[in-house]
């Protein structure tokens, strides 16, 4: 089941693309993703040493308003949490880090803000403590997450090739130039 969620794997690095998730208890694995207005939720159980990441973009609901997005998001979160529980994680020990939700292009709707609002509300509702965030802003992020320890690293994406590959972002706004990797939390 886990193998189905691998989008591409090079050595011990697993890249999680939009709509997918990955969980593991392997301390050698680093999860990576590139985010625009999408949000990645990183969850881990520090006692059990297992963790995972998802990467979602909520649909902009029309038929049922905001509920459609909430349904999709709650399901995406459930998939991640259920697989962590299967690996021995305990719900009450889960901790979270949240990334993404940038406003990548000008328009009437701020999809990134909706994604952030959902993720923050979900953590509140489920009582999962949020240990760190890097949310909002106007630039894409490249995230690395070490799922067994909860360590995370963020780098601002300035490579135009990477930005072109962000399917969710048809017209990326200029990003702040920052070549340094930043250790978070």
């Amino acid at each position: 089941m886990i193998v189905e969620n691998i989008s591409q794997r090079a050595g011990k690095r697993v890249h999680v693309v939009q709509g997918e998730h990955y969980v593991t208890g392997d301390p050698e694995v680093t999860l990576t993703t590139i985010l625009g207005s999408c949000v990645a939720v990183c969850l881990w159980d520090p006692e059990r040493g297992v963790g995972g990441m998802n990467h979602f973009l909520l649909p902009e609901g029309k038929a049922e308003g905001a509920n459609e997005g909430r349904r999709y998001g709650a399901f995406a979160m459930e998939l991640l949490i259920n697989e962590l529980l299967r690996l021995g994680a305990r719900r009450e020990r889960l901790q979270a880090k949240l990334f993404g939700g940038a406003r990548m292009f000008s328009g009437l709707s701020d999809v990134g803000a909706s994604n952030i609002a959902f993720a923050e509300r979900f953590m509140r509702d489920e009582g999962i403590p949020v240990m760190g965030t890097s949310l909002g802003g106007f630039g894409a992020r490249r995230i690395q997450f070490w799922p067994t320890t909860g360590r995370a690293q963020q780098k601002t994406v300035t490579d135009t090739h990477e930005l072109t590959n962000l399917k969710e972002v048809p017209k990326p706004a200029p990003v702040v130039v920052d070549d340094g990797a930043v250790e978070l939390f």
Binding site: R71, F75, E126
Partner: protein, 129 residues
């Protein structure tokens, strides 16, 4: 043709957000008599204390999962006729087959809409008023 307001419903899911979404959808259909349980054991206790007409249960739950809850309901005389709709993920075909064997009334694939939930409930109870 049952009046939606008369259908007493128990929602069993370990995720508060999912229970809230299901409750919102039920309320939109006029089903306002709802109770909630965070795992299968709690759900069974609640049913034995006060029966319901319909149980909407997730499969993945701590203590007693949805399949265990279904089997327990069918094994307890006073509540054995309770209608049960099971929530599943896309890849859970095998689970659905097992649930059918154990007497599930219907199943609902997540993420679902209020319209789909209505269809499933109507397939069990007949058209809602």
């Amino acid at each position: 043709m049952p009046a939606p307001g008369a259908i007493k419903t128990l929602i069993a899911d370990d995720q508060q957000s999912m229970r809230s979404l299901i409750r919102t959808s039920l309320n939109a259909l006029g089903i306002n008599q709802t109770r909630e349980a965070a795992d299968g054991e709690d759900a069974l206790r609640a049913l034995l204390a006060q029966p319901a007409n319909l149980v909407i249960t997730d499969f993945n739950m701590p203590k007693l999962d949805g399949l265990g809850l279904l089997r327990a309901i069918r094994a307890h005389g006073p509540i054995s006729k309770t209608a049960v709709i099971m929530l599943t993920g896309r890849a859970d075909r095998e689970l659905v087959q097992r649930a059918v064997q154990f007497g599930v009334n219907n199943y609902l694939v997540k993420p679902f809409t209020t319209a789909t939930l209505k269809e499933k409930i109507e397939a069990v109870f007949g058209p809602l008023e």
